[in-house]
């Protein structure tokens, strides 16, 4: 059954269906349309924890590697600085830098004695450098992999949980929720969460560790020069944040314009024959030009801001280099000027090199910070949407201890049942419906649109809960059945047949389960199909019953889809068949097949039929006439015609329509 049809169903209860206001589902209202989530919401993160179970080992390994990476990464320029000061210029120094150099001296001495080949200090330095580089490479590679793996695993779990949760939600939930939005939750929103692992939290943590380590080293070496170097940081942060806001605003404008263009194009292409038939090409071209130009303009502005942003980062980096040179160089010169030549330089060239190198690496992570904040924010927004969907608890309750079901005979009884759809509680769809269907009896439900026919069937299947009254299957209240058992006993043939992707045979075998709920063999499905004359239809496919169903059955006519649904129901062999007959006209050949198949399907079974064709009604033992939620008449076709009431009028309406045309 198609989604559109189903969602429209409750609206059938009201004649004003087309104008049904789109009331947002509560979980949609809370977060979907609300303000953006915080970038780090502890409550939400805590809810993610259960999905990380089993990933802790990977995560801690990743974090350890992250710290290790920073150490070996910062060691490399330090080694170069040592090289400059110790071996290229061989100048003495003071303070903490001298301590560091002394440490190196001792290390080099030790290495020179104990390492194989007794390397000199220079080769040893090169060796250390190479080792650091290699370790950094390996550690980063492993760390990126392991964190992402943990994330993918966690989100896989989340996705499964979400899907199973959605499966449990009741029909009334789906009545008020567009499927497209739900699909987005399971796919793109979970994807957005992946960013938490691949580029979000971990990278930010890494950057944070990196920046603090660099800052600590620089402060330790020369706090005055370090502070001078950091002077530009707030300025940079301020400016980039400002520009990023602009870029983001441009991007949002661009996104909304692009989606406008996309829907314009979609419509224009779908309705191209109309545009041409009604000579609207000029107007369409004009509209397109305007939309396209709007996109271009938004993009050009955005390009400008992005260019400014990247230039700004580069500029500030260079300015800081200049500042270090000037300030640090002055310190060097000052030391020289104080007449301590070649003795205790407060600042050496090696340290100067270290400063320029570190500061060169300082700015990129900082400018990226606002970008990552946005990523985090959208991940959190996605998490908020996902979890509030998880909180929706709109399920049909099932008894935990269902009594042993009575023997299946196929009797159905409605006792004074009332009902209104949960999303429109004020409109009574059924107002005290009572009837009884004996095993093997075929009963038709007729009535005008909105009289409550479809609702009656849905209540029997317990897709909705009845308001008052009771519905009994084989003498037991439907609420006392396990849902699976209830739905095994009652087979449905919906008006619009829903075909899954897969072969015809797979679609047929879908409903075939034995009493213990296990799927039955394909042979039984084939047998049912043969009995209904499906062979004739599948004959046109090379692969017969193994033919793939394309795009939900586009390669079948509506009549053929009906036939498949009949076969599906027959294979499942339910005690009660519920049939919502299709209204659409099918051609005569298929019509004959269908009518024959219907006889086969209903033979020996209890049947409840929403009939649109009088021919089907005539097949039935009894007709119930529904009017505005009440059963107003019942009896055989002839008896009801003779009665001259509602049924006679309905019949007259249909008859008059045909007669006038003829």
């Amino acid at each position: 059954m198609s989604a559109a049809r189903l969602k429209a169903s409750p609206a059938k209860g009201a004649p004003s269906a087309p104008g049904r206001p789109a009331t947002p589902a509560p979980w949609e209202r809370e977060d979907g349309s609300g303000p953006r989530a915080k970038a780090l919401d502890v409550r939400l993160l805590r809810r993610l924890l259960p999905f990380l179970r089993g990933q802790w080992g990977r995560l801690s390994e990743g974090l350890a590697l992250l710290l290790f990476t920073q150490v070996v990464r910062l060691a490399q320029p330090t080694l170069v600085a040592i090289l400059i000061d110790r071996y290229l210029l061989a100048r003495d120094s003071e303070g903490n830098w001298a301590t560091l150099l002394a440490v190196w001296e001792r290390l080099a001495a030790w290495g020179g004695q104990h390492l194989p080949g007794r390397p000199g200090p220079l080769p040893l330095l090169a060796l250390c450098f190479a080792a650091c580089a290699a370790l950094e490479y390996l550690a980063r590679r492993r760390q990126a992999w392991i964190i992402d793996l943990a994330g993918q695993n966690a989100l896989f779990e989340l996705r499964q949980r979400l899907f199973r949760h959605l499966q449990r939600l009741s029909c009334s939930f789906y009545d008020r929720t567009p499927v497209g939005k739900l699909v987005g939750r399971v796919t793109s929103d979970v994807e957005a969460l992946q960013e938490l692992f691949s580029s979000g939290v971990v990278t930010i943590l890494g950057d944070f560790v990196n920046l603090s380590a660099m800052a600590a080293v620089l402060l330790w070496l020369d706090w005055k020069l370090a502070l001078a170097s950091f002077l530009a940081v707030p300025l940079l942060l301020y400016l980039t944040a400002k520009v990023r806001v602009k870029v983001r605003a441009c991007y949002e404008i661009f996104i909304s314009r692009r989606s406008r263009l996309a829907s314009f194009l979609h419509e224009s292409i779908s309705g191209m024959s109309l545009i041409q038939a009604y000579a609207r090409e000029g107007r369409a071209q004009r509209d397109h030009g305007q939309l396209s130009a709007e996109i271009r303009d938004a993009q050009v502005v955005s390009v400008g801001w992005e260019a400014v942003l990247s230039a700004l980062t580069e500029l500030i980096g260079s300015l800081v280099t200049a500042a270090i040179l000037w300030f640090g160089g002055s310190l060097v010169l000052e030391a020289l000027g104080q007449g301590a030549p070649a003795a205790a330089g407060a600042l050496t060239l090696g340290v100067l090199f270290l400063f320029t190198d570190y500061m060169g690496k300082f700015f990129q992570p900082l400018t990226d910070l606002s970008l990552k904040y946005t990523v985090l924010q959208s991940a959190m927004t996605a998490a908020a949407k996902i979890f509030s969907l998880m909180d929706v608890d709109d399920v049909i309750p099932e008894r935990l201890d269902p009594p042993t079901p009575p023997p299946a005979r196929g009797s159905v009884e409605f006792r004074d049942v009332t009902f209104s759809y949960p999303n429109r509680p004020d409109e009574a769809v059924l107002r005290g419906v009572s009837f009884r269907v004996e095993p093997g009896e075929h009963v038709a439900l007729v009535g005008a649109t909105g009289s409550g026919k479809t609702s009656t069937l849905k209540l029997l299947l317990r897709l909705y809960e009845a308001g008052a009254g009771a519905i009994l299957l084989d003498g037991q209240d439907v609420r006392d059945y396990a849902l699976a058992e209830l739905r095994r006993r009652v087979g449905i043939v919906p008006q619009d047949v829903f075909l899954f992707e897969g072969t015809i045979l797979e679609n047929l075998a879908l409903g075939s389960r034995s009493a213990d709920g296990r799927p039955l063999s394909e042979e039984r499905a084939l047998l049912a199909a043969r009995r209904l004359g499906l062979d004739e239809i599948v004959a046109r496919f090379d692969r017969g019953y193994r033919q793939e169903v394309s795009e939900r059955g586009k390669n079948f006519s509506s009549g053929e889809r009906q036939l498949i649904a009949f076969a599906r129901a027959l294979a499942a062999a339910p005690e009660v068949v519920v049939l919502d007959e299709a209204t659409s006209n099918v051609d005569t050949r298929t019509e004959e097949l269908l009518s024959h198949a219907l006889d086969e399907l209903l033979a020996g079974r209890t049947a409840l039929v929403i009939a649109h064709r009088l021919s089907t009604v005539r097949h039935c033992d009894r007709i119930l006439v529904l009017d505005r939620g009440r059963i107003v008449e019942q009896g055989s076709h002839e008896a009801l015609l003779a009665l001259g009431g509602h049924y006679a009028r309905l019949h007259e309406l249909q008859y008059r329509g045909d007669g006038a045309a003829g």
């Binding site: 793996l149 024959s273 038939a277 299947l461 879908l510 003829g662």
Partner: protein, 624 residues
Amino acid sequence: MSPSRTEAPPDAGQETTALAELKPLLPYLAKHRRAYVLGLATLIAAIVLRLTIPRLLGASIDALEQAGSAPAGATAAARERLLSLVGWIVGTALLGSLVRVSSRLAVLGTSRRIVHELREDLFAKLLRLAPSYYLRQSTGQLLSRSLNDLVNVQTLSGPVLLYIAETALLFGIGAAMMVETSPLLTGAALLPFPFFIVQAGRLAKQIQVGSRAAQDSLGEVSDKVSESLGGHLVIKTLGLEAADARRFQEQSEAYRGLNLRVTRARARLMPLMSGLTAVSILVALALGAPRVADGRIATGDFVAFLMYLQLLSAPTATLGFVISSLQRGAAAVARIQEVMVAEESLPELPGQRPPRDPRGAIEVRGLNLEREAPGGAGRPKRRVLSEIRFELAAGQTLGIVGHTGAGKTTLVQVLARLLEVPAGVLFYDGEDALELSPKAVRRSIALVPQDAFLFSATLRENVALGKPEASEEEVLEAVRIAQLERDLAQLPQGLDTVVGERGVNLSGGQRQRVALARAILVKPRVLILDDTLSAVDTETADRILAGLAPIMAGRTTVIVAHRLSTVARADRILVLAEGAIAESGNHRQLLAAGGVYAQLWRSQEEEQQGPRGRPAPAGGRRAP
């Protein structure tokens, strides 16, 4: 199926052809050559300036070093020199960022302009393509041309060009500056570059191919979810939850597997760049340190050299992505070009003129038509219409009936001048269709298809599509004849209610009636209803037909229907079977003939009427 899945991924072996495929883009690039020249000039300036900074830095270090080894008095001079060098750095940086901004603006801005022009041209082409083209192409694919493919072209004509130019210049100028310091050192330090670039390229390719596969897989997951949720009622009623969850899990697992493959490649690519920097610096250190120590290379120069290595290794990681962007851009250009050169079937030919006096008479003289089987070009052609022959005077009504696949829709598409026919078979008011402008002919004909399409606009705009200037009365009149009045009363804003995909969802029958009102409003000489009333109940259909009678008086109506009662009043009824006219005549004649039509009529009569007898049809409006 998502459009991307149906497209062949650009092959690795196509790199040479890729450049040839870019040819259609040249006119657009050439049109903006001044912007590109400006972009290039400013880019060169920006790179030279950027590469100057390490030099200045090196010079500063040298100045400091010399001050250290010089007598104490030299500090003042050194300070002077340092100040001027720092000044130079600031100046260079400022100027550098200015030219950089302008080069980016020039190139990237231009790429957006080019894409806008390309999009406009593409849309203009779409407007010219005949309806038959749209029967062969899926909406999704055409949409993908205008959206996704153009994004690839934009990347190609902007960032990719900029990147290629920048990298080439950076390497050229940077290497030249490094050679000045030491040719040997330069050669040695650049030695590891090719290896890393090749490796990065390979990984980038893996990532790209893998991402596409993962994206497709996510598309399948998404399809699966929408199928399951759309069919939740079936799943619930048939109790298929467990089986369905298993299928979903399998698909999610497949997706995770593909994703992890991408992750693995990405994890290997990411640290590659810093690895390259480290290796080349190591080489430079090993070879350079002794030379610096013995004074052959100045310390400042050496520091500058190290900084150059960092600058040069930065773009290598992205090189692989750029190459594949280039390929994707070229493939996108080729796909767009396919649309741009698509044959416009039924183009306006020189010498064709509008019909002199369109009144609505149609004559078909021995029409044979072959069509490709669905599935596109290359499939064997199948004869769908053979020897169709009839004449319809202005003001008459023609009914067409027959089984599914009998050729009814094809025939009305011919009548609506949507399909190509040879000369001498189709005549409008006595004039051969080939002598008339197809567009002008179509303007006098309105075809209302079974699947009515509504634009996401107000109901009024939808009805007045062909006549935007129509008055309120005219629109209401059309709405009334199409039996939409009652529906109108239930819409929140009446005629101003937005309908279509983004508005109120109308039922199939309502949509059909809107389409009908749309056709009625333009008062066509020929009105064709292609099973238009299939989703409308018999009673309403009858009222519509009755309402149409006065306005179609003197105009021609063609009605295709499954329900025979809909066509029973027609002046002439064609019964099609396998593309040929099996029977023809009015209702009475056909009943009397006792053929297929009579048989069909009896079965439908019995079907719809029940066991009681029904009176014989009252006969056509113009019974013979």
